[in-house]
Each structure stands twice: as C-alpha cells, then as structure tokens.
C-alpha cells in the first residue's frame, strides 16, 4: 500500500503538480486564505474589509518595494524605519514653520518633496558607505537604523507634532474614486518597480549584480553605481511611507513612526519569494507576501484570536516560507 502511494507520489503528474505548487506557493497560499475567510469569517466580503486591509498593508508594501530591490542585489536595508521617522518628522516641521504658514501652497509642496528627497539622500549615504568601505549591508544600514531615528527625535525634540493640514493629509486620507490614496500609490509603485525590473537596463543590472557580482563587473556593469542606486530608491520609498503614516495619524511622533517597519518589509519580501541572496526578485511577490501576512493577522483577529497570537503565527510563517524557499532552490 505504501509502495503504491510512494510510486504515485513520484509519478509525473504528481511531480508536475508539486512543482506547480512550489512555484506559485505564495499565490496559492493567498488564495487559500481568501477562501477560508470567505467561508468562515463574518462580513469578510465587504468593501470595508478590503479597504481596511489594503490600507494597513499599503505602507508596508511601499517600503517593501524598495527593500525588494536592495535584496535583489544581495543586500539588505535596516534603516527604512528610521528614515520613515525622519521623513515623518520633517514634513510637519516644514508646513508648520513660519515659512510654511505664510506660503501655504509652497509649504505643502515642499513638505511633500523635501522629506522624500532627504530620505533618498540618506539612502544614498547607505549605498555609498557600503560600497566605499566594502562593508556588509547589515552593518552599514545598522548605522542609520540607530542614528536615523535619533535624528528624527532630535529634530522634533521627541515631541509629538499634531497637526491638521488637509492639503498635506491628502497623501494619507484622501480617497480618489473611493480608493484610499496610499493604495493607489502602492499600486503605482509596484507596477513601476516591477516594470523597471523587467524591462529597463537598470533593472536587469540590479539582478545581474545580485546573481553574480563578479560576472556583472566583468561585463562592464557599474556595480557600485547600481548598489548606490537601489539604496537610494529604498530611502525614497521609506520617505514616501513616512509621509503617508503621519498623514493618516494627523500627527508625527518620531519615536514611533516606522518602528519595526524594516522587519515587516523584509518579512514580506521573504515570504513573497524573493531570495535573500539576491539575483532573483519579484516585486509582485513582495506585495503578495505582505498581503498574506496581513490577511493572516486579520483572519485571526476577526475570528477572535488575540493579536499577540497573530505575532507568533507571523514568526512561524516567515520561518516556514524561507525554509520552503531554500528547498525550492535546491531542487
């Protein structure tokens, strides 16, 4: 009997099926979760549920897009949470300043642009530091992880900055066509990044650098530039995410903005199927990964499981997903 099962399991049909499952593991998992929820969770199939989940997931995905690119080169960016804090701190400082109050339109415009640019510059610093001193990305970005939040706190003296600025808060609260704006931003970023990765020179160079850095260099690819570029992009994404978060909360607390975001983003990327060693990346996968984690949390929440338990499950899922990834690569 066992023999029969074994030989069936090894048969071409089963092999094909298991291969299919492994390849689309993330999508399959997501679909299963959705099915489960449709069946079991009350009020699941409503626009409101959709909105709530998408909103919560949007900031993570925005950051995860940049993180995916960094990981694609074989690196990692621990500073994103702190960069979010800096960006979130800068924006109110700008439009609440004297200058901002007297030039309303310009103030808001600058409040959008400057924080993102600054975050991007910090990201560029990460990239420069890592390439110039040939340092492991974990260590290199650790510096801004530690110092970055401090910078944000120093700028605001650790104070909460509450505000009410509808034109600024457009980035967090508005709903064009009924869809939360951050979801739109998220979708745009995902689409643009995925396209860039597939169709542009820079995108392919990123994957080449992650896939085989030596071969990339010998083929004339400017490895250092590529690396600096992805860290800068990661910084920009963090900057945008920071703006969204403070806009939603109508306040900016440099102590809290983006706390733990780097881990959430890395988890989304890992679960989504991008290899941490680089060379292969899927932006859409990171989106799915974030959705899965979020959906799991929601599933448990909606079914009365305490939030804390969701955390445990989150940890387990990450471990399982990465473990499966490794086995997938090995075959």
């Amino acid at each position: 009997m066992l023999e029969a099962v074994k030989s069936y399991a090894a048969s071409p049909q089963m092999q094909g099926l298991s291969k299919f499952l492994r390849k689309y593991a993330t999508s399959v998992a997501l679909v299963l979760l959705l099915i489960f929820n449709f069946a079991v969770t009350p009020h699941f199939a409503t626009m409101q549920t959709l909105n709530v989940n998408l909103t919560q997931v949007a900031t993570i995905v925005i950051v995860a897009v940049g993180m995916t690119l960094v990981i694609a080169t074989g690196g990692i960016d621990l500073s994103v949470g702190s960069l979010m804090a800096i960006s979130g701190a800068l924006a109110p400082l700008i439009f609440l300043s004297h200058f901002g109050k007297t030039n309303l339109a310009l103030g808001v415009a600058l409040a959008f642009v400057v924080p993102v640019v600054v975050a991007g510059l910090f990201g560029l610093f990460n990239g420069w530091f890592i390439t110039r001193f040939r340092v492991q990305p974990i260590v290199g970005t650790l510096i801004l992880f530690i110092a970055g939040r401090g910078i944000g706190q120093v700028l605001t003296n650790g104070n909460l900055q509450p505000f009410k600025n509808p034109s600024f808060q457009v980035i967090g609260l508005s709903r064009p066509f009924g869809i939360p704006v951050q979801v739109i931003i998220m979708v745009i970023l995902v689409v643009v990044a995925a396209w860039m990765l597939r169709r542009t020179l820079f995108g392919r160079q990123i994957l080449a650098v992650g896939g085989n850095e030596k071969a990339a260099r010998l083929s004339g690819i400017p490895v250092a530039w590529v690396k600096r570029g992805v860290y800068a992009i990661s910084g920009l994404c963090a900057g945008v995410a920071g703006l969204v978060v403070v806009a939603i909360n109508s306040s900016s607390d440099a102590n809290l903005v983006g706390l733990g975001m780097e881990l959430d983003a890395i988890a989304a990327v890992a679960v989504g199927g991008t290899l941490l060693s680089g060379g292969q990346a899927t932006i859409v996968g990171s989106l799915l990964g974030a959705l899965i984690i979020q959906l799991l949390r929601y599933t448990m929440l909606a079914n009365g499981v305490p939030d804390a338990a969701a955390l445990v499950v989150k940890g387990a899922i990450i471990a399982i997903a990465v473990w499966m990834q490794r086995r997938n690569v090995a075959t």
Partner: protein, 506 residues
C-alpha cells in the same frame, strides 16, 4: 592505489589510475588541469569515494569515508588554500580539535610549548600566540605541516605548496620536506614548477586524461619528457592539422595591444605581449605561469603593479572592465561558473549582458532587437538550448561557454581576449568555435588566446608568447611556432635568460 576508477555524473574522471609511494619517499604528481590529480587525492583523503579499484595503505586495504577518518588514519592533505583558521593563533591551529586540558580548562602553556617544539623541528621560530594571519603564507604552510605531523601523519599531500612562496621561502619548505623524509614520513608533491620537482622529489607520476601515464624516478626523465608526457605529445612527430584553425591568417593590421614589463602581485614578474588587428596571438604556458593575471590586467579587472599597457595604439590603464570595454576589448573568462554566467538568468540575458547599454533607448531595453541578436548568435554558434528563455544554468558546460563567447562577439570588439575558450567543449563544437575565431580574425579582429591545448596554439596562432613563472620567455613568430619549440620554452622557462627570438610582424 591501483586500478582506480571514478566517474562524476557518468563522465569518467579517472580510469585505471595508479599511484604508489614508498615510505619516506617524496613523490611528485604532475598533470594538467583535468588530468585527474585532484580527484585522485580527494579519493585518497576521503573527500570522495572511489568507483572501483584498490587502495592499500601501509600494507592494509583502506577506504576512508571522510576527511576526518583519513586524518586519523595518518593521511593529511595540505591544500593550496591552507584550510586553517586565520584569526586564531598558530598554536591553536595546530591543536584545534585535540586541545590539551588541565582541570577541565585549556592548558595553554602546554599547547604553546609543544607548538614551539614542533615548529622548531622544522627550523621555524615564531611567536605561536600570534594569529596565523600575521604570518606569511610560507609560515602558514609550515603550521599546516606541523599540524599534520602532530596528528602523526605518515603521508602528507601537498597541493601546489609553492605557488605563493618566494625563492627563500621555497628553500625553507624544501628543508622541511627533507626533514619529514628523514622522519619516515612520505610526501606527495603536486606542482607545476618542474624545477622544484627536481630539487626535492625522488620519483614522479604523470597523469593525463584520467590515467596514469608514466611513473619513474626523477633522475630518469628530463623536463622536456615530462612536459611531453603531460601534454601527450610525441616529441618528434609532426601532427596533422586537427583543429578548426586551418593554418595562420597572415595579415597583421594596426597595433591593438602592447603590454610591456607587467608585474602583477606575486605571480607575474615581467611579462610582455603584443597583438595586432587580424592576428591571433597565443599565450602559452603551464598552469600558474600568470596568463590569466595578464589578461585581467589588460581588461582592467585587476590593474597591474607595474608595467605599461597600450590599447588601440594609445597608452591606457583601465581600472574597471567597463573602461576596457569602451575601448573595444572583450574578455571571455576561464571559469564560467564563478565569473561567467549569471545562473538564474536566461540565455538571452546572459548573452546580451555586456551589450545591454547599447540595446537601450531611454533606459528601456529594446527587446525586439535583443531577441534578434540572440537568435542570430544561437544559430551562428549552434547553441543547443530549448529556447532563448531557458535558464542558463540548465545548459551543458559547452553550450554555456558558447553563450559566453557570444556575449563578447555580439559586442563587435576590436580585441578579444579568450581564456581557455574551448575548455570543456566537445570536439565538434571545438572545431566550430576555432574556425569562427579564425573567420573573425580574417575580418580584422585581434585575438589574444590563452590555451593549455598545444594544438590550438600551434595551429591557430600567428604569434606565440610563452610564459613561464610569470615571465615572457619566448616570443615566437609564425614560422618558429612548432611543438618542440613551444614545449621547450614552457619546460625550460627560467633557464632561458632572454626570449629565444624576437618576432617581427611583416
């Protein structure tokens, strides 16, 4: 060891290999890359299991399943990379895994003391408490030997021990080997530096193509004979044309490359090479003679410590490959796995990897053009693949090599550096590639070809530079390029004070 067979994935690496070593004997093991030396050694030391055959050690048949077992059994390998822990102290490295203890805690005094004693036996006096990496490679090797001896090894295998040593250090190593001999320890000495073998070895075994070709006393065979045996050459015979080159091209255009006095690290001491348009220039030499280092220096991958390079007639000092590429140079590397292919990417992407910037318009890749070029080259080189989208790591080695070759050919370079371009490719494909290179040379491409296959050099090159031990020892013009000449240069290298002839280009 006798009748040893070993196959990897159905491809035989060893067939009927033999090796026998007496007690207290220093035995040289020579052969080109892929001849089977390392496979033999790995089987002996338990890293691989043999497919068939018998191994007897000290009169008893053995079969080691792991390197640890072999070590405990008395066989100790010392690899080129010196598998020790650089951050740890000398004494620690010697005793790691068998530390002395007193009252449950490590007895440093005893270990340090014994380490000093051990090294003193080899006339080495160092502060054994300092980290291993503080010391030169020579000392590190001594430490590796000391560790082996402290494990009571009866057979020590040294793989290319002198590749990073200078003359003084080599002399010390030889003293140590003689000391081992006196103590009854046998040594297998693997090296490409023929002179060294004569200095310290008693007997020699030559391997080629997975077989043991000859075994004899060192004194009974001269260098030329050794080289001939390694390459499978009959000294006197003149071979039929057996490559796709079909004879020299003859026209030499403007100067594309002129490198003089190159000095790179420890390996290359004084090398020259010149290539003109329409020429195929061969760079010959045994392994370790510095050919790849020269190629990398010209390409900007590892700039040289000294010397001058002229590219396309003008002085150049490329610091990055991209600079050399802009000047019209291409470089097909020797090790496709480590430096060639991007394994997860498709054939199409790997093929156009260097060409990408030229295929882009406004940052976006022109996929139609890309596909057209890829199709063209797949056809031209006869690359066997299920399609351009197949992942390159699924292709056979030979086909991977073709893709890498195409990577540079599609760049339309002026100067193409090829490092072992036909290694690992079947005979038919070899000929195809060789005639392709010839064709391109006829159309004006300048080629610098590094090859360990004499046939290729002899038949394809218009001019040959022979390297021995990091120096250009011969610069042969077309009419002087023949097997005996080249082999003599490779074998006698340092005996020749000046190049045997200075070729002029008509």
């Amino acid at each position: 060891m006798s009748g040893i067979r070993k196959s990897f994935s159905g491809v035989p690496a060893l067939s009927d290999a033999e090796l026998s070593i007496g007690r207290g004997e220093v035995h040289a093991l020579v052969g080109q890359n892929g001849a089977g030396k390392s496979t033999m050694i790995k089987i002996l030391t338990g890293a691989y299991t043999k497919g068939a055959g018998k191994i007897e050690f000290e009169g008893k048949p053995i079969e080691f399943a792991s390197p640890q077992e072999a070590q405990r059994g008395g066989i100790s390998p010392i690899y080129q990379e010196i598998n020790l822990i650089p951050f740890r102290s000398v004494a620690e490295n010697i005793f790691l895994g068998r530390e002395y203890r007193r009252n449950g805690l490590l007895d440093w005094r005893r270990m340090n003391g014994e380490a000093v004693e051990l090294l003193r036996r080899f006339s080495v006096e160092v502060d054994v408490r300092r980290p291993l990496m503080d010391f030169s490679t020579a000392i590190q090797q001594m430490v590796a030997i000391a560790r082996a001896v402290s494990f009571r090894a009866r057979l020590v295998i040294m793989d290319e021990p002198t590749s990073s040593l200078d003359e003084r250090e080599v002399a010390v190593l030889f003293d140590v080997i003689r000391q081992l001999k006196r103590e009854g320890v046998s040594v297998i000495f693997i090296s490409h530096r023929l002179d060294e073998l004569y200095a310290v070895c008693d007997r020699v075994t030559v391997m080629r193509d997975g077989r043991t070709v000859t075994t004899s006393a060192m004194a009974d065979v001269n260098k030329l004979q050794l080289v001939a045996a390694m390459l499978g050459r009959d000294l006197a015979a003149v071979r039929e044309r057996s490559t796709g080159f079909g004879g020299p091209s003859g026209h030499a255009g403007e100067e594309l490359l002129d490198a003089k006095g190159l000095q790179i690290g420890r390996r290359v001491r004084n090398a020259n090479v010149t290539v003109r348009a329409g020429q195929i220039v061969g760079l010959a030499g045994l392994l370790g003679s510095g050919r790849t280092e020269i190629a990398r220096a010209i390409f900007g991958a590892d700039p040289p410590d000294a010397g001058t390079i002229r590219l396309m007639g003008k002085p150049a000092s490329p610091r990055e490959p991209s600079e050399a590429i802009t000047l019209g140079v291409g470089f097909c590397t020797e090790d496709r796995k480590i430096e060639g292919i991007v394994p997860e990417m498709s054939v199409r992407e790997n093929l156009t990897l260097a060409l990408l910037p030229r295929l882009t318009r406004g940052g976006v890749i022109d996929e139609a053009r890309q596909r057209e070029i890829v199709d063209r080259f797949i056809k031209r080189l006869g690359i066997k693949t299920s399609g351009p989208e197949q992942r390159i790591r699924e292709l056979s080695g030979g086909n991977q090599q073709k893709v890498l070759l195409a990577r540079w050919l599609c760049m339309d370079p002026k100067l193409l550096i090829l490092d072992e371009p036909t290694r690992g490719i079947d005979v038919g494909a070899k000929a195809e590639i060789q005639s392709l290179i010839k064709e391109l040379a006829d159309q004006g491409l300048g080629v610098l070809m590094i090859s360990s296959e004499l046939e290729e050099i002899i038949e394809g090159a218009d001019r040959v530079f022979v390297l021995s031990d990091g120096r250009t020892v011969a610069d042969l013009a077309r009419d002087q390029v023949n097997e005996p000449r080249v082999m003599a240069a490779m074998a006698h290298g340092d005996d020749v004070a000046e190049p045997t002839s200075v070729a002029t280009d008509a």
